[in-house]
Symmetry: C2
């Protein structure tokens, strides 16, 4: 069926080693041999079997990409960036869709069976222990969008969610809101908890401010919308920090259904700055998370780990900033 090393060797009249060497970077082959081999390879349409070579080299260039955010539009951007960044470096993403799972055991086993060189956990909801399971199984791992503070054993690339919560709180204060609310993601999502913590901590110093909070059932449009509908039914706050842009968009829909104008009747500030937030019909004031930098950095880190698997774990935290659009009233 497929053409192998041996076929090329036979046609070129050299040993199998010679063929192997012409296809491996930096091996010692004379120009003459190389050209004979290349000619034969071209003629037969040969290209080396990456899996077979992985057996001896121990490197597959396969990178496990594990996520559970398949319902948040931001993931489309994340996904595009990851696949491109990996491809550019000659690495191949092997996807794991975690949607209904939170136990790492299956993914770990599966990715080990495929001998991935490393794994990337791309999720803001999974706990540090999830990524650690890969580490413990000997799979180099980066947790992108992970919780930073408490993960000394695993590389984390992302943002400081607590600080983002603070930032949102300061922003609402600066605009003179007196009754503010947090509309977060699911209660078991680390990002939802951390953002909540920052938000409430910052407001502790302001006893005059009335603070409420609630958690949506998921990072999704419907969850944001239905949660906001619930809030609107019973004396809502003046402004909300939504833990994610997709929740914000859901909340905005709820406002519209009640005939309320965002920014005027009720303030909304999101987090992520996904593409859709820029759309004129959405025009969401939000905290920008530098997705592209985070992903590039994550893939860089993965690449480094390939050379140095035992690399000392680090947290790479990127600053966020508020993007002013139309869903908060002006600063005082």
């Amino acid at each position: 069926m497929s053409v192998t090393l041996k076929d090329v060797a036979a046609l070129a009249g050299v040993s199998r080693s010679a063929v192997s060497r012409t296809f491996t970077e930096g091996a010692s082959v004379s120009a003459k041999t190389r050209s004979k081999v290349e000619k034969a390879a071209l003629e037969l349409g040969y290209s080396p079997n990456a899996l077979a070579s992985s057996l001896t080299t121990g490197r597959t260039k396969l990178i496990g990409l594990i996520s559970n955010n398949f319902h948040n539009p931001i993931f489309l951007e994340v996904f595009d960036q990851f696949t491109r960044a990996l491809q550019e470096r000659g690495l191949r993403p092997l996807i794991v869709n975690l949607t209904d799972e939170t136990e790492p055991a299956n993914s770990v086993r599966m990715l080990r069976q495929y001998s991935v060189d490393a794994a990337i956990v791309a999720s803001s909801t999974l706990p540090p222990s999830f990524a650690k399971a890969f580490h413990d199984a000997g799979v180099p791992v980066v947790h992108t969008f992970g919780r930073s503070a408490t993960s000394p054993e695993v590389h984390v690339v992302g943002i400081d969610n607590v600080e983002c919560g603070r930032m949102a709180a300061r922003e609402l204060l600066a605009r003179g809101y007196r009754h503010v609310g947090y509309l977060g993601g699911p209660k078991d999502a680390t990002s939802a908890l951390d953002r909540h913590r920052g938000f409430t901590e910052e407001l502790c110093d302001h006893p005059e401010i009335n603070v409420t909070h609630c958690f949506a059932s998921a990072y999704s449009f419907e969850a944001g919308r239905s949660e906001m509908l619930r809030l609107l039914a019973d004396s809502p706050a003046e402004a909300y920090f939504c833990g994610d842009d997709i929740l914000s968009v859901g909340a905005l829909s709820a406002l519209a259904e009640h005939g309320l104008k965002p920014g005027k009747d009720i303030g909304i500030i999101g987090l992520n700055d996904m593409e859709m937030s820029r759309w004129q019909s959405v025009d969401l004031t939000t905290i920008h998370q530098p997705i592209k930098q985070i992903i590039t950095s994550s893939v860089d880190l993965v690449e480094q780990m390939l050379k140095e698997p035992q690399r000392y774990p680090e947290a790479r935290i990127f600053p966020c900033r508020v993007i002013e659009r139309g869903t908060l009233r002006p600063r005082l």
Copy 2:
């Protein structure tokens, strides 16, 4: 480093073959041997190397998933469905992000290097020749969302785009629009061309109707928006068939910016029925494409091809239907 067959064999006191057999379905092993092996395997945390075994079995369970639609929100749904459907069947998606490429050569080579068992081309814009390149290279392939009529050599699963164009035209006629337009995807996308063809063919029989058409630069929000802005600047039609929901959403934004009410001032009908189209703030009348069925069917087909690689090619076409929402005026 990692534990191998040999280690387990040694601990269990049996031959390597025995271990291999206890891990392969339907091999002949006595209960006693099996239990000894399982105990040893558990103790060592052994799990077989899928890549090594692929060398002799010729099966990797790796499926190449190739796409270029990373900027259309519908792809999030597509992607979720594909990865889940594959996982459920024990297959592993190896992603190729084609974004800036239209030549199959690189993807084919790469996927062959990784010995994928099959490839899925998930794109409504790539020509049949793209998928055929995989077929010609001996890689079983399914073109999902591909052009149906002209691809006798490759499996295609999707919809009849020409018929969808017709359907859109009939829908606009039924609502009494006299001046209608087609706002399609990129001119080189097969789906844009086919939908255009159906749309104009259907209207040929109605010389009293004024028909215009244009093609956006991409299937994206911005492309739809800017194209509609251009149209609005110069005597627009009464209603448009947008070749994709994301174009529709962009077009809707343009309408809003001009203070025009969709369904009242200008009609819009899309295609796809993506989740966002259901949002109250979008409320897009559109042609529903049965994404889930298409994907399930595609993966079924892939699975069949694993058993029967030379299977005679077929086109699986799923019917679409109009979903009435708020962006067209009522039927007469």
